[in-house]
Symmetry: C2
Subunit: 402 residues, 2 copies
């Protein structure tokens, strides 16, 4: 029997208890033993909750109970999750988490602590919700040299962009509707500014490179400047606009970035609509493979946490392999990366734009209010300088992927 403590009885934590109960037979079979939730740690009381009697408020009861061998950390945030996780791992209790902030910030340290104490720190739920992606990277694509990871890792922004595309609406109005429906937070900054996707790509990039990618050093741009007009041009080019979180080996070194991109309809990520997430992994033998599913939500995320618990049950006393060293990965200067850009400018700025980016071409979308222009492939840095020089004539610019 595996005794489990759940720390944080919010959406994901209560989902974990629900998944273990509802899929009891399956989960116990896959673990080759019974899983039992012994404690639920939360500051709050839950009168009337079916698991009311398991709720405790003192973390030490978990830490001091030697029967508890697996802890699910579903609190989120750094404090006190970081402290509690270290306490558990130091006592040889495995920790399974959905907390992307903590994994991105302290992943290598906590993995090391787990190794030192022959237990596990697993975080399948921290990226892509219920989509298996961490385990495929660690267990499945082991014969590959991973060259690139490109993901749609935030459901809120993907929902907003999908709606802007299909309804021709502008960012603000779609955001408001998404908030009304509960698809976006009242304070949407972490999603729409790309901070959430940034933590997630930091985790995937670290696993790809085997070294620590500091999320604070990842260039991150959100979707607030994307307009309905941009989608008109995207359509005219046979493309769509997605917020991509990507990490790539380039001749200039590894790059990692979160930004809206124009992508082709042949890119498998183009069909990822609404709140769905997907991660495309390019290996040097396999080429592209893609993992797609629900990137958030109570039960999908909880399912991933419980799959980690099953993994702990299967590997008691043994630390499963995860290559993510403390050594910091050196990222290339994003300014040196080369790509094409789409520029939208005022109608009377046509000449200025074509002079600024010779060798590109105008995108014909039958519009008179503005003009759209596709630059040739050029360095980010050079583009940025010349774009800035357009001054008032410029209405927006979007990176082009591929």
């Amino acid at each position: 029997m595996i005794q489990i403590a759940v720390m944080g009885y919010g959406t994901v934590g209560s989902g974990v208890v629900e998944v273990i109960e509802k899929n009891k037979e399956m989960v116990n079979k896959k673990s080759a033993q019974e899983l039992n939730v012994k404690y639920i740690l939360d500051l709050r009381e839950f009168p009337g909750d079916p698991y009311e009697d398991k709720v405790i408020h003192d973390v030490n009861r978990i830490m001091e109970d030697d029967e508890v061998t697996v802890v699910c950390e579903t609190m989120g945030g750094l404090k006190p999750a970081y402290e509690f996780t270290k306490m558990a791992l130091t006592r040889g209790k495995s920790v399974c988490t959905s907390n992307k902030e903590l994994v991105a910030a302290y992943g290598p340290e906590l993995l090391e602590l787990a190794r030192e104490h022959s237990c596990n720190y697993l975080f399948e739920a921290s990226v892509g919700g219920g989509i298996p992606i961490i385990r495929p990277l660690n267990y499945s694509l082991t014969a590959e040299k991973i060259e690139a990871v490109t993901g749609i890792l935030n459901g809120t922004t993907n929902y907003i962009l999908s709606k802007m595309e299909t309804e021709g609406a502008d960012f603000d109005s779609v955001l408001r509707k998404a908030q009304e429906k509960g698809y976006a937070e009242r304070n949407p900054e972490a999603d729409v500014e790309g901070y959430d996707a940034c933590r997630k790509i930091a985790i995937l990039s670290s696993l790809m490179l085997g070294k620590h990618v500091d999320y604070r050093k990842i260039y991150t741009e959100g979707i607030t400047k994307i307009t309905g007009d941009d989608f008109v041009y995207a359509k005219a080019m046979g493309k769509t606009i997605k917020l991509l979180a990507l990490s790539k080996e380039t001749p200039q070194g590894a790059i990692a970035m979160v930004s809206p991109f124009l992508i082709d309809l042949t890119n498998p990520l183009h069909m990822v609509n609404g709140v769905f997430n997907a991660v495309c992994v390019r290996g040097n033998m396999l080429g592209d493979s893609m993992y797609y599913g629900r990137g958030a939500g109570k039960l999908p995320t909880a399912s991933a946490v419980v799959s980690d618990v099953v993994d702990c049950a299967r590997h008691q006393g043994k630390t499963v392999m995860c290559f993510w060293d403390r050594e910091e990965a050196v990222l290339a200067d994003p300014g040196q990366v080369e790509r094409a850009f789409f520029v939208r400018a005022k109608a009377d700025g046509r000449e200025q734009v074509s002079r600024a980016f010779p060798g590109g071409s105008f995108v014909e979308a039958g519009r008179t209010r503005d003009c759209g222009y596709l630059t040739p492939v050029m360095k980010e840095k050079d583009f940025a300088e010349r774009y800035a020089a357009l001054g008032d004539a410029a209405l927006g610019r979007i990176r082009v992927e591929g």
Copy 2:
């Protein structure tokens, strides 16, 4: 050091040697030890091949060499692969295979033999080429009750259907071109009649149900009767036609089937074009997740075999879990399954069709040569009877998914 023998130096076998050599650093790191190909078993000689000196013709040299702990079976077919695999497992040598025929026919027996001798029988490469699907089912979706698995599991037929759709061409002419390009075999029966997909869905169904699904009991229909005309109607309905291999829990029991289906453009499988494969897995907590990539080819398939070798290296002396009992799964009578059907009939058969399937509707595609009709949801058995009664008026029928 893990000493490996490769049995069968054809496309996949030579790919295995190539992947181990090219990605040596990565593969050794992920295995936490060095992998070395000691023997290559084949009937042929390979003069001038860089691994010529490893080529042997006597399987006993592998079996009698205690240093060899992992065998890659990339011979294909049942004979002598079945015998050789049993010999290896009985000696405690793990076997990693790409051989779907053998896995579908003798999977549970060989898994049992591996358990008895504390080694492993792994077959990631047998389904979906390089797409990780076996391991996600066995290791990742462990907190799910899997309710359905639906796949595009054959690249040749998917390539043909994609071409028929985009070029409006008929089956025969596209097949001929595919054969010229090497995308289809000179004897294409195993692909176009669905036999290849049938073996693969038998394997996935068995893993889903934990019991043995006999591939000979899976209803299997190929794509030879699909015409360019069908795609005109598919488009008018906002659908496309795919050869699906599926396995589902239904109120009538589990069903498994290979057949062309009309699917909606909202189905994530609709965008799987050309030689790509994908598997959509529905879990009771996670909902739909999808795994997409190259379903065939030398290096992708070899990469999957090598990932199995890495798994063996990580679990020496230990059998990793795989739930696939010898007990045969009871499949429901396919005739009792309910769904809608698309019927194409002669233009003067309109009245006959609408009388045969009351409650359906004609599909307007601006055609005069024939007519298209969508039946209401009905039992397969009832449909088959009434469709047969249409006689010469009927030109074809396709199942509708979802």
